[in-house]
């Protein structure tokens, strides 16, 4: 049992435990703050897959951006909305009863575990090739350097498309969120 493994299990338990607590918890503000914890633990797990830059981005974008956005949208809204958000309303069509939802989730988990087992027993060809050719990312590799070079050469088209898409969605969000004028 190395330090590595202990840390991994600690982070995994934090992520899964706080996610479960969010699902069980009734109060919205507390569950949003617990969401914070899940995201941090996930960032830690990315480090174990040797994706340190992705982990940093997760902390900056998710914890710094998404969560603050959620908390602001929640706290800046009026009192009645707050109460509605807190309690939720009754629904029978889009929300399933707890038992059925649990059944669906458990079946999904069974399928996932079967696939994980399949991959562990006989890994895909490209993974075996990477292991044979020694192209697996190692801990001392300069990941950020390689990421930057690949982002600007091989993946430059997706990068540009995503930039334009991000601009469009943020403009759209600002347009949707602004106050409506009553007089046309």
């Amino acid at each position: 049992m190395t330090m590595n493994l202990v840390l991994f299990y600690l982070l995994a338990a934090t992520a899964i435990g706080s996610a479960l607590l969010i699902v069980v918890m009734q109060q919205l503000v507390r569950s949003l703050f617990l969401f914070f914890l899940t995201l941090f633990a996930m960032a830690g797990l990315y480090v174990f897959a040797l994706a340190d830059f992705v982990a940093v981005t997760q902390v900056i974008v998710y914890v710094g951006g998404v969560l603050v956005l959620m908390l602001f949208a929640f706290m800046l809204s009026n009192k009645t909305l707050l109460n509605d958000l807190q309690q939720g309303t009754k629904g029978v069509f889009t929300t399933l009863p707890k038992g059925q939802a649990m059944l669906v989730a458990a079946l999904f988990l069974v399928v996932f575990m079967a696939m994980v087992n399949q991959i562990a027993v006989n890994p895909p060809v490209w993974i075996a090739e990477a292991r044979a050719n020694q192209t697996v990312i190692q801990a001392p590799d300069h990941t950020i350097h390689h990421l930057g070079v690949n982002l600007m050469t091989r993946y430059v088209l997706p990068f540009e498309v995503i930039s334009v898409f991000l601009m469009m969605t943020l403009m759209g969000a600002a347009h949707l969120a602004r106050k409506e004028n009553k007089t046309p």
Partner: protein
């Protein structure tokens, strides 16, 4: 040594929790949180498999793209939730049953 299987199991569990939250929660913000869980599980999978792509770094780069897209989706979804509330005075997905007023 952390193997691929460790990360895949964590990601499968997180995806399942997110799915459960989406199915069972009655308020839109928590449904959004459930969707974020599923996206995070997918990113963990991308990153875990991306470790075996030392030449192209495809997994990590697309994980970055997925994070950016999730942030954009949250911004739009929150704007829509607030607007829907202004229009219907409710955020229950059941009450939102017409496209045009």
């Amino acid at each position: 040594m952390i193997t691929l299987t460790h990360l895949l199991v964590v990601s499968a569990l997180l995806f399942t929790i997110g799915l459960y939250a989406v199915l069972v929660k009655k308020n839109a913000i928590l449904i959004l949180v459930g969707i974020e869980f599923m996206i995070n599980a997918a990113i963990l999978n991308l990153v875990a498999f991306g470790r075996y792509d030392g030449a192209g770094y495809g997994g990590q780069i697309f994980a970055l793209f997925a994070i950016v897209l999730a942030a954009a989706a949250v911004a739009v979804a929150l704007a829509i939730i607030l607007n829907v509330y202004k229009h219907y005075n409710s955020i229950d997905p059941d009450d939102i049953n017409d496209l045009k007023d």
